[in-house]
């Protein structure tokens, strides 16, 4: 199979522009275009915000550069994750927020492709125990890529620490997100199936030396909202 495989390798190297054309050009160009458009279609759907921030020429070049590195996954939607990793190591783009933006955009795809369990809803109760749903995701960003005005002028936003909670809303069939404080994150991660919600609040109040009732007043509407959205189960 050496002969066959060397022919196949040369063919792929040529259609991905890694080897100069030594074959009938029209046929090769068709394959180059077919492959390019396949990747373009996937990447422009996966990263619409990033695509708007760079020129068409830049986007095209990034696709061809990626083709040379090569995609590994046989599952097409996952190739966007490989493209994200590839771009995150690209220092030519002068976009310090790039890794955050791509992570933000790809997480939405990952969450859409996740299987969600059916939840039976009961009223929120402080006497019951809850944990953070495995279907919800918390991400830390250095740039506020979740801010609605970010794309219009990314340079106007300063680097910092931003914690964002992502969840899937079954009714609207959308991936939604909201910024949360480090305190809320710590509280969510501290929840245990062995403790009632009230016990978890009491524990947190003790650690931070806050009045339990004061903390309850602050947390209750937030926790009820999280429960409504299946973030707490």
């Amino acid at each position: 199979m050496k002969l066959e495989q060397s022919i196949q390798k040369r063919f792929i190297d040529t259609i991905t522009k890694q080897e100069p054309l030594a074959m009938p050009s029209e046929a090769i160009e068709i394959y180059t275009e077919l492959i390019y458009y396949r990747f373009l279609e996937v990447f422009e759907k996966a990263y619409p915000r990033f695509k708007k921030m760079v020129s068409e020429e830049t986007f095209d070049k990034l696709i061809y550069d990626f083709l040379k590195v090569g995609a590994k996954t046989p599952i097409l939607w996952r190739v966007s994750g490989e493209f994200k990793d590839f771009l995150s190591h690209n220092n030519d783009l002068d976009m310090p927020f790039l890794a955050d933006l791509l992570e933000f955009e790809f997480l939405e795809i990952e969450m859409f492709m996740q299987k969600y369990d059916a939840h039976t809803k009961s009223a929120f109760s402080l006497q019951k125990s809850y944990t953070l749903s495995k279907e919800a995701n918390i991400r830390h960003f250095s740039y506020p890529v979740h801010h609605p005005d970010f794309d219009a002028n990314p340079e106007a936003f300063e680097c910092g620490e931003f914690t964002v909670l992502f969840y899937y809303n079954e009714k609207s069939e959308e991936v939604l997100y909201e910024e949360i404080t480090p305190f809320i994150e710590e509280f969510l991660l501290s929840l245990s199936p062995n403790l009632s919600m009230m016990q978890s609040i009491e524990k947190m109040a003790e650690v931070y030396e806050i009045e339990k009732d004061e903390l309850l007043e602050i947390l209750l509407p937030v926790l009820e909202h999280f429960h409504d959205e299946n973030i707490l189960i």
């Binding site: 022919i7 196949q8 259609i15 492959i35 599952i75």
Partner: protein
Amino acid sequence: MIPYSCGLGLRTEFMHDVYANDFKPSWFEITPENWMYMHAKHRKIFERIVSDFEIVAHGLSLSIGSNTPLDKKFLTDLKSFLDEYEIEYYSEHLSFCSLDNKQMYELLPLPMTENMVNYICDRVDVVQNILGRSIALENASYYYVPYAEMEETDFINEVIKRSGAKLLLDVNNVFVNSHNHKFDPKAFLDKIDYENIAYMHIAGHMEVSEELFIDTHGEKVKDAVWDLLEYVKEGGVDKPLLLERDNDVPDYASMMQEYKYMQKIYS
């Protein structure tokens, strides 16, 4: 057995309208790679359709002619998916789409040699053992012949005869290839072993220029391809037939119009 009738490639563009229409195809074909991890928006309707209709899975990522060892994880996941949804039939392409672990997501032409026939037969055996199903392989469209020591018809017949796989005869691919590589499609079909056909595909293509047609699945089936299908039927082929549409997918009502036309020709 795949129902001896007409089927339709299931696409997200119209799948939510299937139950709103009185007329329905006899069976659907799905691309398993698109459903092994499915979009939350489509899960309910997909599961309803899969439970109500006979389904054939038509894969894209197997890369039967690749030098890369078969992806056992992918095949195991595929088997789980086929088992979960009780899908008995699985077909793929006589081509390759990856090499040295690089995925191209495009069906690429194989060197047509005796060695390649043997190599593919060995790999079909592995695939069939892992999946616990016999598979069918489709004659691919191609715009370039990288290397050939044998006729394409001999290549196809040998692979099918020796691997134990069935043939998925794509009539549009034969037509497009015959135009681009200037051979007689009927003479080509005359040399194909019809007895090993599992089912057939028909689709539209784009006439880019007088010299070049591209297998886009983005338009209605051309009259010349319907004529070629008639020729296959006249040759005694009485196998299930599927209409494919992958690009510029119209609404369900329009798909059904073309489906009904296919049914008329098929019967």
